[in-house]
């Protein structure tokens, strides 16, 4: 246990309370607005609490007019498919790169490493034309395909993890006559679960919140939650109290995931980030 002076303890609490105020102040008016009526919005200041905290009209209106439920289902489908593919492929690539020697190994590894130099925004000009040519624009498959690639951060996390899984496990299985795929799926892959959890958290948050890709590829009937919010907000006729309610609905899934996975989120994000 580290000794801490009373003064330091006080300074710490003051600093943390101020930081929390800094985080929460911009959020307060949003919560107020979501419960206000249109008339209240005009007559009261943004800092005035709503007169009736049980006024859920805005929420109902937002869900109905913003097609939020449909958008939520589409987002869930996109995330489940692309995260499953991405995480499985990341495990497979990392396993092969970690355990085997082959001719083009260095080339493959370097090719993945170099992607960190390539900003996604600098590649979409031509990818958009490709997607357009194969008629995938405005379908969720364009987004699923783009989200299913293997990233270098994921590979680093898995390679690190495999360093701690002894090779003897694989070799013993091979001597017992297990095939390569069997050894991977039944013996090594189950041991890679902690890495999968980390990757699931980092990529889950990133993809749920992504705006650039779905904004580019999904413009009409198929929308992710982020885009549904944006369209809703972009149409000038939507009043702020409705948008606020929609936003609070949008925050609920994130908060649920956060509360459920809080233990893993800090370590997960840190692991992903520090590996850069």
């Amino acid at each position: 246990m580290i000794y801490e002076s009373t003064l330091y303890k006080i300074v710490r609490y003051v600093f943390l309370v101020l930081a929390s105020v800094f985080v929460l102040v911009p959020l307060v008016p949003l919560v107020f607005m979501a419960f206000k009526s249109g008339r209240e919005m005009q007559e009261t200041s943004v800092l005035t609490p709503p007169s009736n905290w049980l006024n859920f009209y805005n929420f109902g209106y937002a869900i109905e007019k913003g097609h939020l439920i449909k958008a939520f289902i589409i987002t869930a489908i996109i995330l489940v498919i692309s995260l499953t593919i991405q995480i499985l492929l990341t495990c497979m690539v990392s396993y092969v790169l970690h355990r085997f020697d082959f001719k083009l190994k260095k080339v493959v590894r370097t090719a993945f490493t170099l992607t960190m130099f390539i900003p996604v925004v600098a590649t979409q000009t031509l990818i958009f034309r490709m997607m357009h040519a194969v008629k995938l624009v405005n379908t969720m498959w364009s987004v699923v395909i783009l989200y299913s690639g293997v990233g270098i951060v994921g590979i680093y996390i898995m390679l690190n993890l495999l360093d701690n899984v002894t090779r003897e496990i694989d070799e013993a299985a091979w001597i017992d006559g297990a095939t390569f795929p069997y050894t991977f799926w039944n013996i090594v892959f189950p041991l890679m679960k902690p890495g999968c959890t980390t990757l699931l958290i980092i990529q889950g948050i990133a993809l749920y919140n992504d705006f650039y890709i779905p904004n580019l590829y999904l413009n009409r009937d198929v929308q992710t939650f982020t885009i549904a919010l944006y369209k809703f907000y972009g149409s000038m006729s939507t009043p702020f109290e409705i948008v606020s309610a929609a936003i609070i609905i949008g925050m609920i899934p994130i908060l649920i995931v956060f509360i459920a996975l809080q233990k893993y989120i800090y370590s997960g994000i840190a692991a992903g980030a520090v590996k850069m």
């Binding site: 303890k9 943390l16 082959f102 130099f117 958009f128 800090y266």
Partner: protein, 285 residues
């Protein structure tokens, strides 16, 4: 033996084929393609005529395009208080005390919110009858009230400051992760030697997390050249808040694919220089 080698190769190839194809099609082809298209007047369809460096020349001579790179500097400037704040937050939260988990929960919140949510929150905050002006009025500081999103002189610093709120959480978690790897014995020794908290930070914390600090600086620089969501969602790049990535997208929609490609190449080159610098400098360490 031969048979075994062959099955091994087939196994390796089958595990690599899809990700490698994805990598080639969606990373390398577009980058090389961009470079080629950037020297043409391609519209995204029809003929492709070679126009030399015309697209690049336009980027470097048109004042509107130059000013969008200047806008990025505001975001870079905002990264300084952002990193300082994140660092001190990580230092004070690294310990055991009552309420730790509540603070951890609150402080990570902005990191979990997407660009549309953050933009709406700050439209409400910065608009003329928004919370910032209301708070200033409450404090009798009416003289400080501004049209934060309309006044051309302050719109860029206003929205750049949002990135402090939005992104400090990422830096904070990275710093926190790094600080947790410092052995507690070092701090115990420091206490026995009578170090103050500031000395502890200066001589233990900072040297230990130098690498992570450096990564964060690099991420901030390469992030500020790629700013997109906040100015795009809040103002659609109007009022002089255009950034290179917003321009790439607008040119794509206007069928000026050649020009969009040239701008993409430029952003790519800048990011590449920044990350290469990081790699070289870290190796020197």
């Amino acid at each position: 033996m031969k048979e075994k080698d062959r099955t091994k190769l087939i196994f390796i190839a089958s595990f690599l084929i899809l990700p490698v194809l994805h990598l080639i099609i969606f990373s390398y082809v577009p980058i090389i393609g961009n470079l080629i298209v950037s020297f043409t007047d391609w519209k995204g369809f029809g003929d492709m005529n070679f126009v030399g460096i015309r697209n690049y020349k336009r980027l470097f001579t048109n004042t509107e395009y130059i000013s969008m790179f200047k806008n990025c500097l505001w975001y870079l400037l905002a990264a300084i208080p952002q990193l300082v704040f994140a660092f001190f937050l990580a230092v004070v939260i690294n310990g055991k005390f009552r309420g730790l988990n509540i603070f951890k929960g609150i402080l990570i919140l902005p990191y979990l919110l997407n660009g549309v949510i953050v933009s709406t929150i700050f439209i409400i905050f910065f608009q003329n009858s928004g919370s910032l002006n209301a708070i200033l009025e409450m404090l009798h500081l009416n003289g400080l009230q501004h049209k934060w999103l309309q006044d051309l002189k302050i719109v860029n610093p206003s929205i750049a400051s949002i990135s402090i709120w939005r992104y400090y959480g990422m830096n904070f978690i990275m710093f926190f992760g790094a600080l947790q790897n410092i052995p507690t014995e070092l701090y115990e020794a420091a206490v026995i030697d009578g170090c103050t908290k500031m000395q502890e930070i200066r001589y233990i914390s900072i040297p230990f997390i130098k690498r992570v600090l450096f990564i964060n600086i690099i991420l901030s620089i390469s992030g500020s050249i790629q700013v997109f969501e906040i100015p795009y969602i809040m103002l659609n790049g109007s009022n002089g808040t255009l950034t290179p990535v917003i321009q790439i997208q607008q040119s794509m929609y206007d069928n000026r694919v050649g020009f969009a490609a040239a701008l993409s190449v430029l952003v790519f080159v800048i990011v590449m220089i920044v990350i290469t610098a990081q790699r070289l400098l870290v190796k020197d360490d």
